[in-house]
């Protein structure tokens, strides 16, 4: 049996009023990839924050034993000294600085008052090569894509002489291709003897990469599953541990929904990049949606899906538009105004709920009414009783878990925030809803509830356009699927006839990666 590198014993962490972790135990062997899975709020991130010293010794109970010694970290520096390095879900890079500057930020080469830039860039290049990046370390971070930025984060961790690497949702903002490359990189590091802990919601990735999987639920460890058998473990098996019951069907059936006439048509739609107007981000795309239909738009990151959705919604992204938008057969005069789009009964539910969707410092009530405040106001004065009633109605309908609609949105979990965002746009009473990554970063249970809401919308005769980068979701939820790549529409198929393979083949055939 291999040596135990890390053992966390009976960790209990209490926040005022809540027990976030309750007697959690975790054993990580040297040289393995250990996955932590669990629903949002189960305590995964809290546990890793305890390990890395963000919550210092003394604020929790229990012991951290690393390399045979009991450790008492009082900050991140202490844990990094021993080679425990955490890469957070949100990238912590300064876009205006170069890759090299970023990698050695706070860890400068040479002297504090005389930084040795030659060594910095030479060493940086060495680590970049290790993660498979060919970029020079003198390039500004903002010029490279998100996938590569994630690799820079890993190179940065390597530069800190990491022995135990913790990756918190490393693939949440990556497309399938980049995700797979990242996972393979992790497997490569494992061969060289690196120990890793990965936190992820994407169970297929966990099954692919992890040797052992520890399931955390409600702040306690439920089980540790061994995944070193010849066959990778099934996602259903992991989900069972996460939700405490068997999930027989991840996608609810949509029954008795009649798909009606075409409501919206987009013809020869072309959009240019706002900063580089010569670049086409959406290139001659034509789509249509019928009443009561759920249309999936699948594509890799950068395929132009979000850009398509946002440009249809009042040209809120891009410049130099061309093409035609028809609603109910009537051409709609294009205007650069979100308010105009809402007037035409189009809604766009953003993929970035914290950045573009919600006002975190305001209540559920205020967020719910924002896109349709006029309907609650007379002469500019808001009818507050009506507003409250509306917020209550949608909380009820969407089963948002909150003590009150006066609760600040920033205090809600990801899944509940997503429901508030949906409520906001449902209250705007659109006929056409463009949902961009509606289940990003939320847990299995909440996902199922969101799918049910989508089905309800379709049953009410609304057009739903669902943009997603999760293939099973696109296949499981759509009636029809459009496939995009590099700004172009490269395929359209009925969901009943589509498979993961046929969709990926359409993308490969269109040129990229082939």
């Amino acid at each position: 049996m291999a040596k135990i590198l890390l053992e966390m014993r009976n960790i209990t962490k209490t926040f005022p009023g809540v027990k976030a972790l309750d007697n959690v135990n975790l054993q990580v062997e040297e040289g393995e990839i250990h996955a932590l899975v669990g629903e949002n709020g189960a305590g995964k991130s809290t546990l890793m924050n305890v390990l890395s010293g963000i919550y210092p010794h003394g604020t929790y109970e229990g012991d951290i034993v690393y390399d045979g010694k009991v450790c008492k970290f009082s900050n991140i520096k202490d844990s990094e000294k021993l080679g425990i390095v955490i890469i957070h879900q949100e990238l912590a890079l300064v876009p205006e600085m170069t890759i090299g500057e970023n990698m050695y930020l706070g860890n400068e080469r040479g002297h504090k008052f005389a930084i040795d830039w030659n060594t910095t860039y030479a060493e940086a290049d060495k680590y970049l090569k290790m993660v498979g990046l060919t970029e020079s370390s003198k390039v500004q971070v903002k010029t490279i894509g998100t996938g590569k930025q994630q690799l820079v984060e890993i190179a940065k961790a390597l530069a800190k002489q990491a022995k135990l690497l913790i990756l918190d949702e490393p693939t949440s903002s990556l497309n399938e291709e980049d995700s797979r490359a990242l996972l393979d990189l992790m497997l490569g590091f494992k061969k060289q003897g690196m120990t890793m802990i990965i936190i992820s919601h994407k169970l297929n990735e966990v099954a692919y990469v992890a040797d052992k999987i520890t399931v955390i639920r409600d702040g306690t460890t439920i089980e540790t599953i061994d995944n070193r058998g010849p066959e990778p473990i099934s996602e259903e098996r992991i989900i069972k541990g996460m939700v405490g019951r068997e999930m027989t069907n991840r996608f609810p059936k949509r029954e008795g929904v009649k798909v009606g006439d075409i409501l919206m048509e987009v013809d020869h739609w072309t959009v240019h990049h706002p900063l580089y107007p010569e670049r086409k981000v959406v290139d001659d795309v034509s789509i249509n949606v019928r009443k009561g239909e759920v249309v999936g738009i699948y594509g890799l990151m950068g395929a132009g899906r979000t850009e398509l959705g946002m440009s249809i919604f009042g040209q809120s992204y891009g410049v130099n538009f061309s093409g035609e938008l028809k609603i109910d057969g009537q051409p709609v005069k294009l205007k650069k105004s979100e308010a105009d789009a809402i007037k035409h009964k189009i809604a766009y539910v953003t993929e970035d709920r914290k950045g573009n969707g919600l006002i975190l410092s305001q209540s559920i009530k205020v967020n719910t009414s924002l896109a349709n405040l006029d309907s609650l106001a007379k002469m500019g004065v808001i009818d507050q009783d009506k507003e409250y009633a509306v917020a209550e109605e949608y909380r009820d309908k969407l089963k948002t878990k909150t003590p009150s609609v006066e609760q600040l949105v920033g205090n809600l979990s990801g899944g509940n925030q997503q429901k508030v965002l949906l409520a906001k746009w449902m209250f705007a009473e659109p006929d056409i809803m463009i949902l961009d990554e509606p289940t990003r970063g939320i847990d299995v249970g909440a996902k199922y509830e969101i799918y049910c809401i989508i089905n309800d919308l379709a049953a009410q005769g609304k057009c739903v356009i669902m943009i997603s980068s999760e293939l099973p979701e696109v296949l499981g939820m759509s009636d029809r699927i459009y496939i995009m790549n590099e700004g172009k529409m490269v395929g359209e198929m009925k969901a009943s006839e589509a498979t993961q393979e046929s969709i990926m083949a359409a993308i490969l055939k269109s040129g990229r990666g082939a």
Partner: protein, 395 residues
């Protein structure tokens, strides 16, 4: 036990500045042997700080949009006052002069708001240039001289001179020998009655809708505010009654409390400051929200100019210097967030009052003016520090 402790700490978090105001008031009353609470001094407190309340109200709207401030208000106050004084010297009557002054303020606000909202000049820079330019214009208009006002009506209505009080037309109720100002008393009682009625209505509506709010808390707040109002009315009625400037302050505060809490535009101010992108994607024209905020503070600067000119019975080219900072400080002490989206008129009132009480207390105790500034600076820092710390603990 923990429940109780967390309740106590959340109480302190919510009412830090109210408690600070009480402590500071008590401190100065004690150190000055009760002088600060004499009717004449309370009257002065209101008269001297009229402009702060008016400007801070406008500033709050700007700050709500994302921590944006308006540095030009001090200069705009001086400029509108200069224009008004010149007009009255030329023989203009009160009403047209006042209208012109308000319009000048509004026009300046619209002008600066244009650059900020449509051309995307940072607010700080647009209003910094306004601060220089309108100080210069004031000097040009006044030709470097002090211009006095001798329009009695103007002074009486806007709080300057010896007769700037609401006439005691209800005096007959108490008989001619009474020394109290009856109108003032009646107005105070009326205000309390209306306030209590509104609170009761609010509680009833909450009950009907099933909103769980602490009823006892609301009643206590109402009682305390009513008590302060009654106490103040008693004090003022012993002197000459309601200073006219108080009417203007009350009007502005009531209107803007309503605007920020009940209207769609008010909601948009908070929304833009909370998350501009999300607000734009919700179909709100965010640029117009900025324009509104800056046009609005221009208008209020015009009103502050009127009050300042009346109070000083004239204007000289240095008036209004530093007024912008008093307004900004009042908002931040009153709990407005420097990042926007958070802040209330009620908080700003506490902030402005706190600054006023400290200013006046030190003046009565004859503290050196330089030290007064030091103390003001420290108060601002400590206030915001408390605010930041108390919010951090919450996480």
């Amino acid at each position: 036990m923990t429940m109780k402790a967390s309740k106590v700490s959340s109480f302190f978090q919510k009412y830090t500045m109210v408690l600070a105001l009480v402590l500071v008031t008590v401190f100065f009353a004690w150190r000055s042997g009760g002088k600060t609470l004499l009717p004449a001094n309370l009257n002065n407190l209101i008269a001297q700080n009229g402009y702060v309340f008016v400007l801070a109200t406008g500033m709050l709207c700007c700050i709500l949009t994302g921590g944006n401030i308006d540095l030009s208000v001090g200069s705009v106050v001086c400029f509108t006052a200069a224009v008004g004084c010149k007009l009255m010297k030329a023989g203009w009557a009160m009403v047209p002069t006042v209208l012109v002054m308000l319009l000048v303020g509004l026009a300046i606000g619209v002008f600066q708001g244009f650059w900020i909202s449509k051309v995307h000049v940072p607010a700080f820079i647009a209003t910094l240039s306004g601060m220089y330019a309108f100080r210069g214009f004031s000097n040009i208009v006044l030709q470097g001289e002090t211009v006095a006002i001798n329009n009695e009506a103007f002074l009486n209505v806007f709080g300057g001179g010896a007769n700037c009080y609401v006439p005691d037309f209800l005096h007959f109720l108490a008989g001619p020998e009474s020394k109290l100002n009856v109108t003032c008393l009646v107005a105070g009682i009326a205000a309390v009655v209306v306030f209590a009625a509104l609170t009761v209505r609010k509680i009833l509506v909450q009950k009907k809708l099933g909103i769980s709010q602490s009823i006892i808390g609301q009643i206590i707040t109402t009682v305390i505010i009513s008590a302060v109002v009654i106490w103040l009315t008693l004090k003022l009625s012993k002197l000459k009654g309601i200073p006219t400037v108080l009417i203007w302050i009350a009007l502005v505060l009531l209107i803007y409390n309503y605007v920020t809490t009940r209207t769609a535009m008010g909601r948009h101010l908070y929304a833009v400051g909370g998350n501009e992108k999300a607000t734009a994607l919700s179909g709100v024209n965010t640029r117009n929200v900025y324009w509104f905020a800056y046009a609005n503070i221009g208008l209020l600067a015009g009103l502050a100019g009127i009050l300042t000119a009346a109070r000083a019975k004239g204007i000289d080219p240095t008036y209004g210097e530093g007024y912008e900072m008093d307004a900004i400080a009042s908002c931040f002490i009153g709990g407005a967030s420097a990042y926007g989206g958070i802040g209330k008129v009620s908080g700003m009132i506490i902030g402005a009052t706190l600054m006023g009480v400290i200013n006046q207390g030190m003046r009565i105790m004859a503290v050196d003016t330089n030290y007064q500034r030091v103390v003001k600076g420290i108060v601002l820092l400590v206030a915001v520090m408390f605010d930041v710390l108390s919010k951090r603990q919450k996480r």
